[in-house]
């Protein structure tokens, strides 16, 4: 916010607090990101030279626009009113009788013009960056390491049981809220599950932890699987890796275990 312009001429204008407003702005005041956006729009609509703004006319348009918008929320209103105050202040300065013409640097509009020019550039850059974004979000990169050949196994970052348990907890919480009805009784044997897991690890090299649990239809079965995985990690048969927080966890057989645990 500019500290410069004290708004003396308007009553009932509250200076905006730097209120921590959430981002839900653009819904209100329709398409305008803020007061500068609105001003740029009005200037463009009138085909005015930004360096020679007829302040009185623009102020009228601006205030008129604000009056039509009765549903502005308070945080936003403060921001829009702040610029309104600045406009009115500039208008009053322009009306002061002067003996000589103003040098360019003394133009009371200067403060506003500089800001509008800079903001206009940011807006224009945005349209170019948006084009880039639109292309980039359609291109996918890989965020995993492909299976490596050769004997010596690369030791990946190991994940603590705590993180593993946390993801599991979050997952279970989601599952139980998503679909309570899936919890139904069915006996699942630990031995059978353990064997199934080891076989799966052999077959696929690695499994995606979250995906694997999502695939279970019952909570009980998922729980048993979870404890089997914990057991495999504890007994150092498998390794679990999470590249980044909140990302999925991948489970591998250890290299040495790949041979020994293969067929028991």
């Amino acid at each position: 916010m500019p500290e410069a312009a004290a708004p003396p001429t308007v009553e009932d204008i509250a200076l905006p607090p730097a209120a921590g407003a959430a981002e839900g702005y653009q819904v209100r005041l329709d398409v305008f990101e803020g007061p500068l956006d609105l001003l740029l729009f009005l200037i463009r609509k009138k085909k005015i030279d930004i360096h020679d703004i007829p302040i009185a006319a623009i102020t009228r348009d601006y205030l008129g626009y604000l009056e039509r918008k009765t549903e502005i929320n308070l945080d936003r209103e403060a921001e829009f009113l702040f610029i309104a105050a600045l406009l009115i202040y500039i208008k009053s300065q322009m009306l002061l009788p002067r003996e000589t013409d103003l040098a360019e640097g003394e133009d009371p509009r200067r403060v506003l013009v500089d800001r509008l020019v800079e903001y206009g550039k940011v807006k224009a850059a945005c349209s170019l960056l948006r084009e880039r974004e639109d292309v980039q979000i359609l291109q996918w990169k890989r965020s995993f390491i492909p299976p490596l050949s050769g004997e010596s196994e690369l030791e990946p970052l190991e994940l603590s049981l705590f993180d593993l348990s946390e993801s599991f907890f979050l997952l279970m919480k989601r599952r139980s809220t998503e679909n309570v009805r899936t919890i139904r009784g069915r006996d699942v044997s630990v031995e059978a599950k353990m064997k199934e897991l080891v076989d799966l690890l052999h077959e696929r090299h690695m499994i995606d932890f979250l995906e694997y649990f999502e695939a279970h239809s019952s909570l009980e079965e998922a729980l048993v699987s979870f404890f089997c995985i914990l057991e495999l990690i504890k007994s150092r048969v498998a390794v679990a890796v999470q590249d980044e927080l909140f990302q999925t966890i991948r489970v591998w057989l250890r290299k040495d275990a790949r041979r020994t645990a293969a067929h028991e």
Partner: protein, 182 residues
Amino acid sequence: MSDPLKNLVESLIFVSQEPVTLDRLQAVCDGVPAAELQAAVDGLVADYAADGRGIHVLRVGGGWLFSTKPAHDREVRRLLQIERKNRLSPAGLETLAAIAYRQPVTQSEVSAIRGVDSTGALKTLLEKKLIKIVGRKKAPGNPLVYRTSDEFLLYLGLNGLDELPSEEEIAKILEEDKAGEA
């Protein structure tokens, strides 16, 4: 066609999780002169660009990275069972642009440029790791100072900050806008 160094570079870029820089290639292939590595990369990029291929080599974030092509977005998302990636909100993009061009900047500087409190947008960008906190400004209140991150370059497919739209490109857009309104 078959060049051992080019093949090696291909597998290195393929396996990497982040853009592979020339420096890193040199560190990995010790003894190979930078010029030869550069030639190998150039050859690889040309190979992938030449015959219609499903993947291509991006020049991004100061290095090279494989990625799929935009045309395959729908099928890729179906295979991976993920939703379409969301664009940034207008407020988010505007804030990001203000930071990109004026960095290092503080929250209040960004807010002043936009004429709108930008705390919320900054938080979103931090969460998305598109910006990062790099220190504090020696000014009253010692506000935090922000910069764009490496992920920012990747996100927009830029090789470096010098690839941001230039003053001339911006001026052109502004001219077009003016003309468009008429």
